[in-house]
C-alpha cells in the first residue's frame, strides 16, 4: 500500500506528451498489479515463527499468523465480500454476534515449571470462550458451538448448557473498544472439552484458513507426523476487535497460533537441531501475501551455541537469552535454521525465577461414593505476595459442598488468602458449578484449597456409549498479572492445571453383569417364596358359617 499510493497522489505535473504517457501508464499498471488481489487497502497479513530452545533441550516452535482487517475491509465483509479474512470465520462472527472469540485445541500439558510461561499455553482438550454483543446469548452460543464444531471437525457441539460457565473475575475483553461501557455490555460464555482428542482432522481445516495454506511460508513446515509427535501441541484461533488508527472505527484481528514442543534429544539423541531434523521439512519460499515473514531463534544464555545459517542480526534480552533473526523475504533459497551446540549437557532443573507460581491440582479420596479436589498453589517468589484469580467449573454430577471449602497456607495462619469468592451452585443437567476466587498468595509459601464432593449416580443413558474410563473435569484457569508487566498494562498471564479423571459409580455394562443381575433377581424372588413357605405354619382358619 505504501508503495502503491505515490503514483495516485502524485502532485499535478505539466501535461505530458502522448509518447511519454504510454510507458508511464504501463509502469503504473505494473506497479499496481501485485496489489490488485488485496482489494481493500486496509487488510494486512503477517506471519512469524519463533523457535526457542528450552533449557531442558526441547524446542518450542510458536507459529503466529496475524490477519488484520481494517474498517473498510470489515464493511465489505458485511456485504459478503471477502479477501484475506476466511469466509467461514467471517460468517460465524457475523451470524452469532461474536465480538471476541478464543478457541484452542491442545494435546499435552504445558510444563510451566520447566518451560516458563507462554501466552500460547492452553488447557488440555478444547477450550472456548467468547464475548457476545447480542441479547439472546444462550441461543447464539449454542449456534456458535455447533458451527465451530462443523468448521473444525471437533465435538464442540457437546458443550451444552450443562457445561457452559459464565466466569465473573477471570476473563476480561482483550480487544480495543470505544469505551468501558462498550465492554460492560458484552456477555461471556466459557466452555471446555477436556477429553477431546486433537488430531490432523482438526489441523487441516485450521490450516485452510491461512492465506497461503501450507503451500508457502512458515506453514509449509506443518508435517502432521511431526507436529503430533511432540510433547505439547496447541493450536488456537483468536478474534478480537482492534483500533487500526487513533479514533477511527474498529477493525478486526484474526490471530491463528500454533505452538508445539519437540524434543531433539528423543528424535536423534542430540541437543543440536534444525528445521529439517525436527519437522523433516524446510521453508522453501515466503508467502507472497505476507507483509512480514520472520523467523526468530532463541536459545538460553548457554555458551557454546551457534546459529546456522548466519542470522541477519542477533539480540540478547535481559534474561540472557540470545535471539537470532531471519526473514523469509530476504532469503532467496530455502531456509533451514538450526542451532548447534559444543556441549551436549541439558538442564532439567525447575526454573524458579521465571515460573514463580506453580499450581498443582489433584483428586483426593478413593472409592466410588465421594471424593475431593485439592489445589496446591506455590508462590516461590522470595518477597512478593501475588494476586491471582482461580476459576474452576465442575460438572453437575459432582456435588460440591461449599462448606467443606478450606484454604490453608504454610506462611502465616492469620494471612487472609481469600480476597473474593464467587460460587454458582450447579443445577442437575442444567449448569455446572462454578467456583471463582481471588486469592492472595503470600511470598514463598504453599496455599492449599480443598473442597469435597459427592458423586452422583447418573442415569445409565448418560454414560458415554463407548468404552470409557471415567469423566474428565476440565482444567482450572489461574489468571494473574505478570510481575514484570508495567502497572498500566492490562496483559494477563494464564496457566492451566491438569485435567482430573473421576470414576463415577458405574454399573458394569458388560454381559456378565447383566447375567448376574438377572440371576440375582430370580434367586431373590425364589428365596422369598421359599423362605416364606419354610417358616410358615399352616393352620386352618375358623370359617364363619
Amino acid at each position: 500500500m505504501g508503495t502503491g499510493r505515490p503514483p495516485a497522489k502524485r502532485p499535478p505535473r505539466p501535461p505530458l506528451s502522448a509518447p511519454l504517457l504510454l510507458p508511464l501508464l504501463c509502469l503504473l499498471v505494473t506497479l499496481l498489479a501485485p496489489f490488485a488481489r488485496a482489494a481493500p487497502s486496509d487488510e494486512t497479513y503477517e506471519e512469524d515463527l519463533q523457535l526457542t530452545q528450552l533449557p531442558d533441550g526441547k524446542v518450542l516452535a510458536e507459529f503466529r499468523f496475524l490477519t488484520r482487517i481494517g474498517p473498510a475491509a470489515l464493511a465489505q465483509v458485511k456485504e459478503n465480500h471477502y479477501s484475506l479474512l476466511p469466509r467461514a470465520i467471517g460468517e460465524i462472527v457475523q451470524t452469532f454476534g461474536v465480538e471476541e472469540l478464543h478457541l484452542t485445541f491442545t494435546r499435552g500439558i504445558w510444563n510451566h515449571q520447566k518451560w516458563g510461561y507462554s501466552p500460547l499455553s492452553a488447557a488440555t482438550g478444547v477450550q472456548l470462550w467468547t464475548w457476545f454483543n447480542v441479547s439472546s446469548v444462550d441461543d447464539q452460543w449454542k449456534g456458535l458451538t455447533h458451527a465451530l464444531s462443523g468448521l473444525y471437525c471437533a465435538s464442540l457441539n457437546q458443550i451444552d448448557r450443562s457445561s457452559t460457565a459464565e466466569p465473573m473475575l477471570s476473563f476480561r475483553p482483550e480487544g480495543d473498544y470505544e469505551d468501558d461501557a462498550a465492554k460492560d455490555n458484552l456477555e461471556l460464555r466459557y466452555g471446555s472439552l477436556p477429553h477431546e482428542a486433537v488430531c490432523t482432522e482438526n489441523l487441516t481445516p485450521w490450516t485452510k484458513m491461512l492465506p497461503c495454506q501450507t503451500k508457502a511460508g512458515i506453514a509449509s513446515l506443518f508435517n502432521a507426523y511431526r507436529l503430533f509427535d511432540g510433547h505439547y501441541h496447541s493450536m488456537g484461533t483468536h478474534i478480537r476487535p482492534i483500533a487500526m488508527n487513533e479514533g477511527s472505527a474498529r477493525g478486526m484481528e484474526l490471530l491463528q497460533t500454533l505452538s508445539v514442543v519437540m524434543n531433539p534429544l528423543r528424535l536423534d539423541n542430540r541437543k543440536d537441531w534444525s528445521l529439517s531434523t525436527i519437522f523433516e521439512r524446510k521453508i522453501n519460499s515466503a508467502c507472497a501475501i505476507a507483509q512480514k515473514s520472520d523467523v526468530t531463534v532463541t536459545v538460553s544464555g548457554h555458551a557454546g551455541s551457534s546459529f546456522n545459517p548466519a542470522p541477519l542480526s542477533t539480540t540478547t534480552d535481559k534474561h540472557g537469552r540470545m535471539s537470532a533473526q531471519y526473514s523469509l523475504g530476504s532469503t532467496p533459497h530455502e531456509l533451514d535454521v538450526g542451532v548447534q551446540w559444543e556441549d551436549s549437557a541439558v538442564d532439567h532443573h525447575v526454573n524458579l525465577t521465571r515460573s514463580y507460581i506453580h499450581v498443582h491440582r489433584y483428586q483426593t479420596g478413593y472409592g466410588g461414593e465421594r471424593g475431593g479436589l485439592a489445589v496446591d498453589f506455590h508462590n516461590r517468589h522470595p518477597t512478593a505476595d501475588l494476586q491471582i484469580t482461580y476459576f474452576e467449573t465442575v460438572p453437575w454430577y459432582l456435588k460440591l459442598y461449599l462448606h467443606t471449602l478450606k484454604a490453608e497456607t504454610t506462611a502465616n495462619a492469620s494471612y487472609e488468602v481469600v480476597n473474593d469468592l464467587y460460587f454458582q451452585p450447579a443445577i442437575d443437567r442444567g449448569r455446572p458449578a462454578v467456583l471463582e476466587m481471588a486469592l492472595s498468595l503470600p511470598a514463598n509459601s504453599m496455599t492449599t484449597l480443598h473442597i469435597d464432593f459427592d458423586m452422583a449416580y447418573i442415569k445409565y443413558t448418560e454414560h458415554p456409549p463407548d468404552a470409557n474410563r471415567g469423566f474428565d473435569i476440565g482444567a482450572a484457569v489461574i489468571t494473574f498479572k505478570p510481575l514484570d508487566a508495567s502497572p498500566e498494562s492490562s496483559a494477563l498471564q494464564r496457566i492451566h492445571t491438569q485435567t482430573v479423571l473421576v470414576s463415577l459409580p458405574t454399573p458394569d455394562f458388560s454381559m456378565p453383569y447383566n447375567v448376574i443381575t438377572l440371576t440375582c433377581t430370580l434367586i431373590a424372588l425364589f428365596f422369598g417364596s421359599m423362605f416364606n413357605m419354610l417358616t410358615r405354619r399352616f393352620v386352618p382358619v375358623e370359617a364363619k358359617l
Partner: protein
C-alpha cells in the same frame, strides 16, 4: 365364595363313597405333608452337603475344572507389539544394580536411598520427589523414605497412570538391587518414545510394604491421623488415576530360573484376571517360565496322579496364601484403591530347571506388558476378579469353586432351620393326618336322610395342629450368651495389639498367652454362662411348655456362622473353606450330651482359633510358625487393616465359645 367349597357335594349316585374333601383343604394338607417331609429330610440329612462339598473341593485340582486363561479385553493384545528393550537398556540395569548394591553397603539410611533414586529420575527429565514417613512399631520407630517420579506422557492429559514400583529390600530380605535397576532403566527407557498415552509413576519404597501404604494414602490425599502409628508427608506431585501397578522384586544378580507372579493382595483380594493373563502371556512370548507359588507347571506329567498332586499342591499353597490375606508384597495394598496390581519376582533356585532367563527377556516382557496396558481406553473390567489359579496359565472360575465352598457352610444354615423348628414344635413331629369330616353325632335313621353323605360340612382339626403343642422358645438365655461371647471377642480384638506389645516388651511366652486364652474360654463357658442362666432364668432345660434353651442358642449360632462364612466365600473363598472344614462338624454335633462330652470338647477346641493355630504349628513345622502367623495377623490388622483378626475375634471365636456353652447346657 369360599363357602361353596365347603358345601357338601351333591351325591351323584346313592350309596357312593365318601365325598371328596374340598380343594383348599386338600392343598393345605399337601403343603403340610411336603413341609413335614422337607423338615424331616433337612433335619436328618443336612450334614450331607458337607461331604459333598469336601469331595467337590478334592476334585478341583482335576483338569476338567480348569479353564485356560485368555485375555478378555481385546484392546490389550499382549505381546503383539515390537519391543525395543535392548542390551543397552540391560546394561543400564546392571549398572544400576551395582550402584544400588554399593549404596546399600555404604548407608543404612532410607533417605539416602530415596535421594539417589530421585536424582537419577530427575536426570531423565522426570518430575521426581521423595516422601518421608515414620512408622512406630512395638519395638522401635522406623524412619522410611519413598522416592517417586512421574513421567508425563507426551501429549497426554495426565489423567491416567501406571505405577512401576520396587521395594528397596525385597520380600526375601535381600536388597532388591536388580528390581530397583529395572525401575530406573525403565524410567530411562520410556522417555525415548512418544507412543505412551498414560503417565508412568516410578516408585521405590523403603521399608516396604508399609512405605507403599504411606505413599498410596498420600497419593489419594489422605492426611494421617495425629495419633496413628504411621505418619507421612504429603506428596509434591501427582499424576492422574492409577490404573495398573507392576511391582518388581529381583533380589539376585541375573540368571533367574523363572519369574514368579504374586497376585493375591490384602484380604485375598485379587486383581482383574486380564492383568495377570497379560503379564503371563507377555512373559511367555519372551520365553520366560512363569512360576506360581514357587513351582513351574511342567508341560507333561508321567501319571495322572502326578498331575493331580502337582496341581493340588499349588492349590493348597494358593489357599494358604489367600486365607491369611496378609500383604506378601507391595502389590497387595493397591486393591483398596481400585488399582489392579501384581508383583513379579525373580526366582533363582527352582528344582529341576536348567534354563536361565536373561535380563533382556525380562525387560522386553515388562515393556510388552506396559505397551498392552497403555493401549487400554477404559478400566480393566472385562475379565473376572474372582478366580483360583491352579497354574499360571489356567484358572478355576467362580462358578466352579464357589458351590463347594458354600455347600460346606450351607449345612449350618439348614441345621439352624432344623433347630428352630425343633424348638418350636413337638419334639416328635408326626406325619399330618388326612383331614376328615366330622361325623354327625346322634343322627338316627329315622330323622335324617339316608347316609349318602358321610359326615357334616365341618372338617376336623388334626390333633397335632393344636396350639397347645407349640412350645415357648426361650430366647433370653441364648441372646445373653451370644452377647457375652461377642463382647469377649470384641475385647480380644481391642487388646490384641496391646497383648502383642506386652509379648514384645515383657517377653511373655506365647504359650502362656495361649494358656491365658484357654482360661478365659473355660471361665466363660464353664462358669459365667451357667451362673447367669441359673440367676436369670433357671437352667434352660426343657419343660412341657418350653423348649430347651440350647436349641435356640444353636439355631442362632449356626445361623450367624453359616451366613458369615457364606458371605466370606464371596470375598475370600479360601478362608471361608478353611474355617468351614474345621468348624462345621463340631457345630453340627454340638448338643448337651454326657457320653460324648469329651469328644465334642476336643472337636470344638480344634476348631477354635487356638486349635487352628495349633494345627498350623503342626502342619507348618513348629511353634515359631504359629507364633509368626498370630503376630502377622495382629500386625496386619494394625498396620494395613487386614480383616483376618477382626473376623476371628468378632465372629468366629465368639461363636466357637457359644458352641462350647451349648455342650455345657442342660437338655
Amino acid at each position: 365364595m369360599l363357602r361353596r367349597f365347603f358345601r357338601p357335594a351333591k351325591a351323584p349316585i346313592a350309596g357312593a363313597v365318601e365325598p371328596s374333601t374340598p380343594k383348599e383343604v386338600k392343598r393345605m394338607h399337601a403343603r403340610r405333608v411336603v413341609l413335614y417331609h422337607a423338615r424331616n429330610t433337612l433335619a436328618k440329612l443336612s450334614w450331607i452337603f458337607y461331604p459333598i462339598g469336601i469331595v467337590w473341593l478334592l476334585l478341583l485340582p482335576r483338569d476338567e475344572f480348569h479353564h485356560k486363561a485368555a485375555v478378555d479385553e481385546n484392546a490389550l493384545l499382549p505381546g503383539q507389539t515390537t519391543k525395543y528393550f535392548s542390551s543397552m537398556d540391560m546394561y543400564a540395569v546392571t549398572t544400576y544394580r551395582q550402584r544400588v548394591n554399593e549404596l546399600a553397603g555404604e548407608s543404612r539410611n532410607a533417605a539416602d536411598y530415596a535421594a539417589f533414586i530421585q536424582n537419577e529420575l530427575k536426570s531423565f527429565d522426570i518430575d521426581a520427589s521423595t516422601q518421608n514417613f515414620l512408622w512406630a512399631t512395638n519395638t522401635d520407630t522406623v524412619a522410611g523414605a519413598n522416592a517417586y517420579g512421574v513421567y508425563r506422557a507426551p501429549r497426554g492429559d495426565g489423567t491416567e497412570a501406571i505405577v512401576i514400583s520396587a521395594p528397596w529390600i525385597g520380600g526375601d530380605g535381600k536388597v532388591n538391587a536388580e528390581g530397583v535397576g529395572y525401575v530406573l532403566a525403565m524410567a530411562k527407557f520410556v522417555t525415548k518414545f512418544s507412543h505412551w498415552s498414560k503417565d508412568f509413576v516410578f516408585l521405590v519404597t523403603q521399608p516396604s510394604p508399609i512405605g507403599t501404604r504411606a505413599w498410596l494414602e498420600a497419593y489419594h490425599g489422605q492426611a494421617p491421623k495425629p495419633d496413628a502409628a504411621l505418619q507421612y508427608d504429603p506428596l509434591q506431585t501427582h499424576s492422574g488415576a492409577i490404573q495398573e501397578a507392576l511391582n518388581l522384586e529381583f533380589g539376585d544378580e541375573g540368571d533367574y530360573a523363572a519369574v514368579e507372579i504374586l497376585v493375591d493382595g490384602l484380604n485375598g483380594q485379587l486383581p482383574n484376571a486380564d492383568l495377570v493373563t497379560t503379564v503371563v502371556q507377555c512373559a511367555q512370548y519372551e520365553g520366560i517360565p512363569v512360576s506360581l507359588h514357587q513351582s513351574v507347571t511342567p508341560k507333561s506329567f508321567n501319571t495322572p496322579l502326578a498331575r493331580y498332586l502337582h496341581k493340588a499342591d499349588t492349590l493348597v499353597e494358593y489357599v494358604k496364601s489367600q486365607a491369611l490375606g496378609l500383604p506378601k508384597g507391595d502389590h497387595a495394598l493397591y486393591a483398596r484403591y481400585h488399582i489392579e496390581s501384581i508383583t513379579l519376582r525373580g526366582i533363582k533356585d527352582l528344582p529341576g530347571t536348567q534354563y536361565r532367563v536373561s535380563g533382556e527377556q525380562i525387560g522386553r516382557a515388562l515393556e510388552s506388558a506396559l505397551r498392552s496396558f497403555n493401549n487400554l481406553l477404559e478400566r480393566l473390567h472385562h475379565a473376572y476378579w474372582f478366580y483360583i489359579m491352579p497354574t499360571a496359565t489356567s484358572y478355576i472360575p467362580m462358578s466352579v469353586y464357589l458351590p463347594p465352598v458354600i455347600l460346606l457352610s450351607v449345612t449350618l444354615i439348614f441345621e439352624s432351620l432344623a433347630m428352630w423348628w425343633r424348638s418350636g414344635e413337638d419334639t416328635n413331629p408326626r406325619r399330618p393326618e388326612k383331614p376328615a369330616r366330622i361325623m354327625p353325632v346322634g343322627g338316627s335313621a329315622d330323622t335324617s336322610p339316608p347316609p349318602t353323605t358321610a359326615g357334616t360340612t365341618l372338617i376336623a382339626r388334626s390333633r397335632h395342629l393344636l396350639s397347645f403343642n407349640a412350645r415357648v422358645r426361650p430366647v433370653f438365655i441364648p441372646i445373653v450368651t451370644m452377647v457375652i461371647c461377642h463382647a469377649t471377642g470384641a475385647f480380644a480384638l481391642y487388646f490384641a495389639p496391646t497383648l502383642l506389645f506386652m509379648a514384645d516388651y515383657g517377653k511373655i511366652n506365647p504359650l502362656n498367652m495361649m494358656t491365658g486364652t484357654l482360661v478365659v474360654t473355660a471361665t466363660i463357658y464353664g462358669f459365667m454362662i451357667p451362673t447367669l442362666q441359673r440367676l436369670l432364668e433357671g437352667s434352660g432345660a426343657s419343660t412341657a411348655t418350653a423348649a430347651p434353651a440350647w436349641q435356640v442358642l444353636k439355631s442362632f449360632a449356626c445361623l450367624e456362622l453359616g451366613a458369615s462364612l457364606i458371605a466370606l466365600a464371596m470375598l475370600n473363598p479360601s478362608l471361608s473353606a478353611f474355617l468351614a472344614v474345621f468348624a462345621v462338624p463340631p457345630f453340627l454335633m454340638a448338643r448337651p450330651c454326657q457320653d460324648r462330652f469329651a469328644a465334642q470338647m476336643v472337636a470344638l477346641f480344634v476348631a477354635s482359633p487356638v486349635g487352628l493355630v495349633g494345627c498350623v504349628a503342626i502342619a507348618g513345622g513348629g511353634l515359631d510358625v504359629a507364633w509368626a502367623t498370630v503376630r502377622q495377623s495382629v500386625e496386619g490388622w494394625d498396620a494395613y487393616g487386614a480383616w483376618l483378626l477382626p473376623l476371628i475375634c468378632l465372629v468366629y471365636w465368639p461363636l466357637n465359645l457359644a458352641a462350647h456353652v451349648i455342650c455345657g447346657m442342660e437338655d
